[in-house]
Symmetry: C2
Subunit: 620 residues, 2 copies
């Protein structure tokens, strides 16, 4: 079609509306009214501005479109039909088992880069894509983000406005569908697009206020966004349910099919099959070519050296940056603590500072990984929780990224519980596709930092604050799913299973017990997910008891991971779990471990109690 033809544009908008309504009709659920409000906005975008090589959605020159208001998925799929990517037959599989057209968008559709559906995420992820375009891919593609007005209440949106302006992301456009009605009623500002414009402009964006159903105003706004040289927010006043009189601008119509879908389709002009020649990307710059990776040569540490695992992480990541040109470092203003600063110094062009905005940091990583980069994202384990919803959504979108949580557990000492990562293993284990690693020395850390880059899904590395002795030779191999048996004899009376700082305490406990004539096995379970089922089962069979010890809450951590190894294949062994039960205050690291009963003295005492009980009863 001649995309400049206004009546054809109007026809396209009508078709997007009809197809949106049809989606909800066939599924018996979905958000047609939230799709109707944005149909005109998307019609103009598709026909005139969005540059897609529909024959190759992996073309690096392609623009990117994110539905931050992911519930408007019917509109997204209607748009994909008009672009020739989804057939009409497929369109009506919306929300059916096995369909690519899920209730909320996921990358199972090639035009979708990232999963959305939890509000407030699309724009910060778009910031990541725009950063990639500007600073990594160095290509002039644009990132268009369709936002809802309700989601502007999410703080993560303001992190995104701040960061995009701070980084001068002129290729980023937010299209805000100001339809006045949230899920349960009117938004705070209703149709006052000025209220949004004043705020967003104060954060450094260019803003345009328009009637979101006036095709020429929309056209002009997008043209302005292209020309202005700053990130632009198009604040479009729209009507929820626009085009269908029965539901237009009505409360109580969110997230359900129209009451009279058939009549609505007729009212909108009936089913059509307009197909759009989506503008192709211009070839303005050569696409980024990754040079071949070199060998990863992390700094070796001598056995007995005292090195914090966080330091080893930073040094290893820096080495990995030399080996792999696709590795990135992302920080939320704590690089000196997480030791990301080593990477920052040697690879300033691949280091990204997000200030204290963990949601924006993780969201940016999601955007960057969708372009093939390998982001390492580090903050305190305790503060990574801030971005959990983004991590959860990243897993839904099959994202690959590496997260590092430092300052694990009570071992940090005097700073107190606000700074202690005590729930992080539980959180990260529960993420679909996740890998959870917790090294205990510098050489092991370096090996795992390298392994993470090869890993699919969400990988998490937990590091400790304090220096601790190197116990492994730098040639030792460590891998995802592995463990290391550190003490073993035919006479082992039980097995201590530990990770991170507690490995050192477990070894100390083994020494104490050895002096008392008791041999115990010690396993360094550095891969907490996946867990080394074989080694744990062997230890269970040979020693009859697994005593787990972790610097973490009792729930969802190492102990539960060990239990998980015995969920099939017969009865589990006796298990004893040592963990952080009480709320710590401030104290020295040694006092903290002692108070929680997870230092060598506490472990030895627990072992003795078990053995005494065993002696007394012959069983437990």
């Amino acid at each position: 079609m001649a995309t400049g033809n206004p009546s054809k544009l109007a026809g396209l908008a009508r078709q997007l509306r009809v197809d949106s309504v049809r989606c909800a009709e066939v599924a018996g659920s979905g958000h047609p009214t939230s799709s109707l409000s944005a149909a005109d906005l998307m019609a103009v975008l598709l026909a005139k501005y969005l540059r897609w090589d529909v024959s190759d959605m992996t073309n690096p020159q392609n623009d990117h479109l994110i539905f931050s208001k992911g519930h408007a998925s019917p509109l997204l799929y209607a748009l994909n039909k008009a672009a020739g990517i989804v057939s009409d037959d497929e369109l009506v599989t919306y929300r059916a088992l096995g369909s690519r057209l899920e209730g909320h968008p996921t990358p199972s559709l090639p035009t979708v880069d990232v999963a959305t559906g939890s509000l407030g995420q699309g724009l910060p992820i778009g910031v990541g894509l725009a950063l990639s375009g500007k600073l990594l891919d160095r290509l002039p593609y644009r990132t268009w983000v369709l936002c809802g007005d309700s989601e502007l209440a999410e703080g993560s949106m303001w992190e995104a406005f701040e960061h995009a302006a701070g980084e001068g992301l002129d290729k980023l456009t937010a299209i805000v569908d100001v339809n006045r009605l949230g899920q349960r009623g009117p938004t705070r500002y209703g149709w006052d697009t000025g209220a949004y414009a004043r705020r967003i402009a104060a954060h450094g964006w260019h803003t345009v206020e328009i009637d979101g159903h006036d095709l020429s105003q929309i056209d002009q706004a997008y043209a302005e966004a292209l020309a202005v040289g700053r990130p632009t927010a198009v604040l479009a006043r729209t009507t929820k349910g626009a085009g269908v009189a029965e539901v237009a601008d009505q409360e109580g119509r969110h997230g359900k099919p129209l009451p009279n879908g058939r009549e609505a389709i007729a009212e909108l002009g009936g089913i059509s099959d307009i197909w759009i020649d989506v503008p192709e990307p211009e070839y303005l710059a050569p696409p980024h070519q990754f040079r071949a990776p070199a060998d990863y040569e992390p700094q070796p540490y001598e056995v007995g050296e005292e090195v914090a695992t966080r330091t080893a992480f930073g040094q290893a990541l820096s080495a990995l940056g030399h080996a792999r040109p696709d590795v990135l470092g992302l920080d939320a203003e704590v690089a000196d603590s997480t030791r990301m600063e080593y990477f920052a110094k040697e690879h300033p062009d691949r280091f990204f500072q997000f200030f204290i905005a963990e949601q924006q940091m993780v969201a940016a990583a999601v955007g960057m990984q969708s372009r093939g980069w390998v982001p390492y994202v580090a903050t305190f384990a305790a503060f990574m929780t801030r971005a959990y919803d983004f991590i959860r959504m990243a897993a839904i979108g099959n994202a690959n990224m590496c997260l590092i949580g430092s300052h694990a557990g009570v071992e940090i000492g005097a700073d107190g519980p606000s700074q202690m990562g005590l729930e992080d293993i539980a959180l990260m284990r529960a993420v679909h596709s996740s890998t959870v690693l917790h090294p205990c020395d510098a050489n092991q850390t370096a090996a795992l930092v390298g392994a993470m880059a090869e890993q699919r899904g969400i990988s998490y590395l937990r590091t400790c604050r304090g220096d601790c002795p190197v116990i492994y030779h730098y040639d030792e191999e460590f891998y995802v799913g592995g463990s290391q048996v550190l003490r073993s004899s035919p006479d082992d009376a039980l097995t201590i299973v530990a990770a991170g700082i507690t490995v050192h305490e477990a070894l100390g406990a083994a020494d104490i017990l050895a002096e008392e004539g008791v041999a115990v096995r010690v396993i360094d379970l550095y891969s907490i997910k996946p867990v080394d089922v074989f080694t744990l089962r062997q230890a269970a069979q040979e020693t009859g008891c697994l005593l787990t010890v972790e610097d973490h809450r009792p729930e969802g951590g190492l102990g539960d991971a060990v239990c998980g190894a015995f969920m099939t294949g017969g009865p589990p062994p006796v298990m004893i779990k040592l963990a952080v039960h009480d709320m710590p205050g401030s104290a020295t690291p040694a006092e903290q471990l002692r108070t929680c009963g997870i230092d060598r003295v506490g472990i030895a005492a627990a072992a003795r109690a078990y053995l005494a009980e065993l002696d007394a009863t012959g069983e437990l």
Copy 2:
């Protein structure tokens, strides 16, 4: 002292500096430079504006002071010394084991309402206190929040600015210590207080820009905040490390004792013992008196009725609101989905709408509970994760609050994984002091909603989207830590342990197996934390196998909670865990449960497989 006397004010400021430096000296850690920058700001506040009845910090007329930049705790404790609340002897216990003067503030000190130390939380919590003052306590106390400039990067701060302006919280003052330097280097805007002022003003606040070391400018700014009738941000340009030449305005001085503490103390004028007559609160209105609670009379449901547990929650909370005048309802724009709307309709004066700002919602609850109110906070279980860092911090501050996560698991059906709470049990179990409840029918839900109000700590109730049959009589009793044995016989071949929707599937599986001549026990484990160890152990002993089934990820959920019951007291039974292993797409609820193997067919199949193996081998 005559608080208007400028030289004495300067003396107080010097003392606050000296005592801040001393804290870090004795502890060998801490944040003296971040305390020095705000000392003048706090000296004027303490001497002239902050109204505290130091003889009774529970006096409802008292002002509230929150250190959002919690790492400036040395300054807070120095201020408490000057107010006569902390002795000089106690001051030097800073960060020692057992001291109330922790690395970051907690309510172990009576002048501290809430725990801080994770940045970006103090201001949104202050919004909760200011809301309490305006709409609940109806007292003219003021809430003063000392913020850092770095933490303005957190989206949660902008949620707070938005909400405070929207609610017209004129008794809320943010004092922003713009010291230019974050933890690892300069902030984005450095000393450009105008950059902050423009943004904050755009969000509806009154702003004042001052020199934060000029006592009279500070005085004037606070006077203006009192007079202006809007929430006010005082943007104070300060010098990090002010007063000590060696560290003033230097990078690399964050979070560590001064290099030459003794000399610094001398440079600052040496140790002094100025004691301030803190202004007392005026008695301007009678304090709020809660009327005596009435009997809680939730709506009874008939066995066999089809009612969603989310609906039962909403109706029960509404009934609880009639019984208890201290119960509040907090929503993030999904009250129609969580069914909080029942409460909203009947108790509009105790219902709070936060729009889609989960962090602000939970933070407000933290503030409100510190004033003795009992907040119930509801959103989708998936979106509650957004506020996890606030929940974690609330537990550190001994907060009591009730959280409700709706739309649990794949059972929601067609909306897809972005809307499914699949990690929430793992997250909430790991919270210190938490209670985790997951009812399966309407009468049970109603009973637990009532029980939560009596519970200390963080209580979490998980509800389901779809209607399901009422299986318990409304007179049945349910309690925290309980469970219900639904099927039991002397011949039970194994025990199925379920909660929520899977209870109904477990009963269905028991029926299927019964038809095949196999008796199984069924336990409704509605209290997931604490867990009913006695009943689980009895079932283990009598049936030899526990088959857990949950609509949740395999990690950290019901199955792991059941394992936890066997961490002491002898070997565990055979355990089999059914859970959601793969990533769901869209489908009907029944298809979802079937695909994940957690419906009655899947449960029966798992039971059969276990029994066949047992038959074949005589053991497993």
